[in-house]
């Protein structure tokens, strides 16, 4: 293997590019090809999950059941969450990591290219299996993405498919994470110490550890579900000496860090973009790193705040309340640092900056409702209502998804060598921002007024805000077609981008050509 590699360098052409034809995409071990595969896959799944969301919002447009039956409605809520979390958002961040980490640390590629290929190619099979559950006897899983027993055990033929696809998605994530950690630890350019790494690299480094720590826990939990259903175990059945709440503890021990898996890379992206467009160095770099690490640590000791109503002992409720409230501190530090970076900068507002600013404001709104939810006695009123739905959608849609879009606009000229259409990009931002607020803000109100989540039909006093919310949903959904159009248009043509792309851009990726060479850094750059 080694000898072969040496021979290859000695005798072959140094400028060899990608293989020709479609086999390139099957056999590729190139970080950029795999990054693109992840990102395209994620974009497709974003629309699949989006259609499910629109079916939900269409049914909720008016009280009464007009379009779907409750059983199918529950399949939609469950599948919408699984698709968006595991097939849209996570692959989007892994795709960005694949593209950007080698270029940001001055490496030619990822450390483990063959495993990289494998971790992507598991995804299409796992997701096909998951989505195929819609067509089996009894329909897709309908017990919520949280898969709580005993309800999830009532799933029909979809049940083993759900479990195995979760296993496969977990394997894919773990392999991706190992690769990211190995790359960051071993392939940084000379002079790039840990405390000189770009924040996107830092946040992904920490995220990868979170993934490795929690994915096996989820795999264990779903395996116990599998044996409970088919092999007569009783891990989660009181009748056999088990405890259904035990599942919730295990699930949320995965589930809460998972929330940060979805948001830490977003923090990293925003920390790259704001300094570029403020033309000013990021404020408080080291405090940003420490805050990220603190959030990651705290994410492991707050899981039971998802379970305040299951009947925990008072001492546990108090502990989880205090620990959860504490997360507001490092998160606040990050927000304050971003604002201070903007302060007295020299700002321009290209599309990536617009999305980054939108992220900071709307993620903070989601953070505020998160702080309110942390207060246990009040959570008794909020829990499992639309207030919670509004909260996590603020964090994940104008939070995580806006960050992914900011990243795409920010690096697309680097990836393709073409500038995107700035005017259309700004339209996309404003449409998305206006509609996302019409969509999710009223959900705070109906939640506080008493509307439970995951219901296909509701009492008439919730009708007006639900109608508004549904209009926002369709507006937001349609706006994303514009995003797909802009991306495809940029890939095909556009004004040529410079290597620097943005006036204020700083970092190794901007020293490469646009588009960058197939093997990013064939000679290591020196970082001073």
């Amino acid at each position: 293997m080694n000898a072969q590699a040496v021979e290859h360098v000695d005798h072959d052409d140094h400028h060899h590019g990608p293989a020709k034809g479609w086999m390139r995409w099957i056999t590729t071990t190139n970080h950029k090809d795999i990054g693109s595969l992840y990102l395209w896959f994620s974009l497709i799944m974003f629309f699949v999950g989006g259609i499910m969301a629109l079916i939900i919002r269409a049914e909720l447009f008016q009280p009464g059941l007009q379009l779907v039956d409750p059983a199918f409605f529950n399949q939609m809520t469950t599948m919408h969450a699984l698709v968006m979390i595991f097939l849209a958002l996570m692959p989007a961040f892994v795709g960005l990591a694949n593209w950007m980490i080698p270029m940001m640390i001055g490496a030619p590629d990822m450390a483990l290219p063959r495993m990289n290929n494998w971790s992507f190619w598991i995804l299409p099979f796992a997701s096909t299996m998951l989505i195929a559950t819609l067509f089996v006897d009894g329909g897709a899983p309908a017990g919520g993405w949280t898969m709580y027993p005993p309800l999830v055990l009532q799933t029909g033929a979809a049940f083993p498919m759900l479990i195995f696809s979760v296993h496969l998605l977990g394997i894919s994530s773990i392999m991706g994470s190992i690769n990211i950690i190995a790359t960051i630890m071993n392939m940084r350019a000379p002079g790039m110490t840990y405390m000189k790494m770009p924040l996107f690299v830092w946040t992904w480094f920490i995220t990868a550890y979170l993934l490795i720590a929690t994915m096996p826990v989820l795999a264990g939990a779903v395996t116990m579900l599998l044996t409970d259903k088919y092999f007569a175990t009783s891990f989660f059945s009181a009748a056999g000496g088990g405890d259904p709440v035990m599942f919730q503890h295990i699930f949320w021990f995965f589930g809460h860090p998972e929330v940060y898996i979805l948001i830490l890379p977003a923090f990293g992206i925003v920390s790259q973009i704001i300094p570029t467009f403020a033309r000013k160095q990021l404020f408080g770099y080291s405090s940003m790193v420490y805050a990220t690490a603190s959030i990651a640590f705290l994410s492991f000791i707050v899981w039971a705040h998802h379970m305040f109503t299951v009947g925990l002992p008072v001492a546990a409720e108090l502990f989880f309340m205090f620990a959860t409230m504490l997360i507001a501190v490092p998160t606040g530090v990050k927000v304050f640092n971003w604002v201070s970076t903007m302060w007295k900068g020299s700002m321009t507002f290209e599309t990536p900056m617009l999305f980054a600013i939108g992220f900071v404001i709307m993620f903070t709104i989601g953070g505020f409702s998160g702080l309110m939810l942390a207060i246990t006695p009040v959570d008794f009123q909020y829990h499992d209502t639309y207030f919670v739905v509004a909260h996590f959608h603020y964090v994940l849609v104008p939070g995580a998804i806006f960050a992914v879009m900011a990243a795409v606009y920010y690096w697309l000229p680097k990836w393709t060598g073409n500038m995107y259409d700035e005017k259309l990009g700004r339209f996309h931002f404003w449409f998305s921002t206006i509609f996302v607020n019409i969509l999710f803000f009223p959900q705070h109100f109906v939640g506080l007024a008493g509307m439970p989540r995951r219901i296909p039909d509701y009492a008439v006093q919730f009708a007006d805000f639900n109608a508004i919310s549904s209009i926002g949903a369709f507006g937001f959904g349609l706006s994303q077609l514009l995003f797909a159009y802009i991306v495809i248009k940029t890939v095909r043509s556009g004004k040529k981008a410079t290597d620097q792309v943005w006036e204020g851009a700083d970092g190794l990726e901007w020293t490469l050509s646009s588009p960058p060479p197939y093997h990013s850094f064939s000679t290591q750059p020196i970082v001073k």
Partner: protein, 375 residues
């Protein structure tokens, strides 16, 4: 096919004028107990803290966006770190959080103290109804979604939900409690996890099969308070509401006496002989409240999930096997055991109904005595 159908439906509903009757409630109710008012206070305190922080942070950001822009000739400053500032904005939030956490902890300790209750009601969640048992007074009953709401909520029913009083929030048998008494609720479930929530009482607790949780409320004002199940529990999760009526002590005692008399009457019904018409009429009523949610109002079931009643091997086969599955349920499926839920007369009637309606016509007639013998 499915997609075009949905698009058409969305268009149609967009063209229909909105049913207007909604109120524009934007906040949590203050509620009718001391603790619900305290929780409301905490909620508003946390809200205003967020508003103030929001004004400061977003204010600074907007100021910066307006003034520190390149097209206004702003030159970037070079500062990029300050340990002092970082410490300040770590310590101040910690202080704010502590000031929120202290009253929250105090409230929590009060909420979790259900000792010295004046009475206890056991609440059991079923797919998809609630059972209430008053141990001291020997009362036990099931509380189902009101028939009018059920009818209107069927897809394509053509009934405007706005014309139904308390749509989806009305039940056939409300739970009644006395005002001014500390009522302790015990929660458990029969099948999957449910959660019992009445916002005005600020009581939300999961009902978990095999475990018992508790929570309490002391209602100050007589009135009717409505809530819903808040833990996803399957198909009809959105259709198992809760109605609590708080009455003055004397009216409450009167209600208890009525319930006890009604229970005696129901017991008597199980002792008598019934004719076919009577069984079918009662059977239809029982079927609609206890069976139709899964097996369908017309007996069609849901293919792949819930078996059809029409032409079913059980409903047209051996009577005793049919009665057995109704009494004892079927392990490993969603089919519940109805032995403890329904009286002999109810089961006799529903079995007769299932064998002679919903497309079946076996001609069999089952008497309550036959059920009693098989119990």
């Amino acid at each position: 096919m499915k997609r075009s159908c949905i698009t058409g439906g969305v268009l149609a509903s967009l063209l229909t004028p909105l049913s207007v009757h909604a109120d524009w409630e934007v906040n949590m109710p203050t509620g009718v107990t001391d603790l619900s008012a305290e929780i409301y206070g905490l909620h508003m305190a946390a809200f205003w803290v967020c508003v103030i922080i929001g004004i400061i942070v977003f204010g600074a950001m907007i100021y910066s966006i307006i003034h520190h822009r390149k097209d206004k000739g702003a030159k970037p400053a070079t500062f990029h770190e300050s340990t002092t500032v970082e410490i300040v904005w770590t310590v101040i939030p910690v202080i704010i959080l502590i000031s929120l956490a202290i009253p929250a902890a105090q409230a929590l300790v009060k909420i979790e103290d259900s000792s010295n209750a004046d009475m206890t009601i056991k609440v059991t969640g079923y797919q998809w109804k609630w059972q209430y048992e008053y141990a001291e007074d020997g009362i036990s009953f099931f509380s189902n979604l009101d028939a009018k709401s059920r009818e209107a909520s069927a897809r394509g029913s053509g009934i405007d939900p706005a014309t139904v009083d308390n749509y989806l929030l009305e039940v056939d048998n409300p739970v009644v409690i006395p005002v001014g008494k500390k009522v302790r609720f015990l929660f458990t479930a029969n099948d999957v996890i449910h959660s019992w929530w009445v916002p005005e009482l600020a009581v939300k607790k999961d009902a978990i099969p095999g475990f018992v949780n508790d929570m309490w409320a002391q209602v100050n004002t007589p009135g009717t308070y409505r809530g819903q199940c808040t833990e996803l529990c399957g198909k009809d999760h959105g259709f198992m509401p809760i109605t609590v009526i708080a009455k003055e002590e004397s009216e409450y005692r009167q209600w208890v006496a009525e319930q006890q008399a009604a229970a005696k009457e129901a017991a008597a019904a199980s002792e008598q002989e019934w004719d076919m018409a009577g069984l079918l009429e009662k059977g239809q009523q029982v079927y609609n409240t206890s069976c139709a949610a899964c097996h369908g109002a017309t007996g069609a079931g849901i293919p792949g999930v819930f078996p059809a009643m029409t032409g079913s091997a059980i409903a047209t086969g051996d009577i005793n096997a049919h009665i057995d599955i109704v009494l004892n349920g079927k392990a490993g499926t969603a089919m519940q055991a109805f032995a403890a839920q329904l009286s002999d007369a109810d089961i006799a009637a529903v079995v007769t109904y299932e064998r002679n309606a919903l497309g079946n016509s076996t001609g069999d007639m089952v008497q309550p005595a036959a059920i009693k013998a098989l119990r």
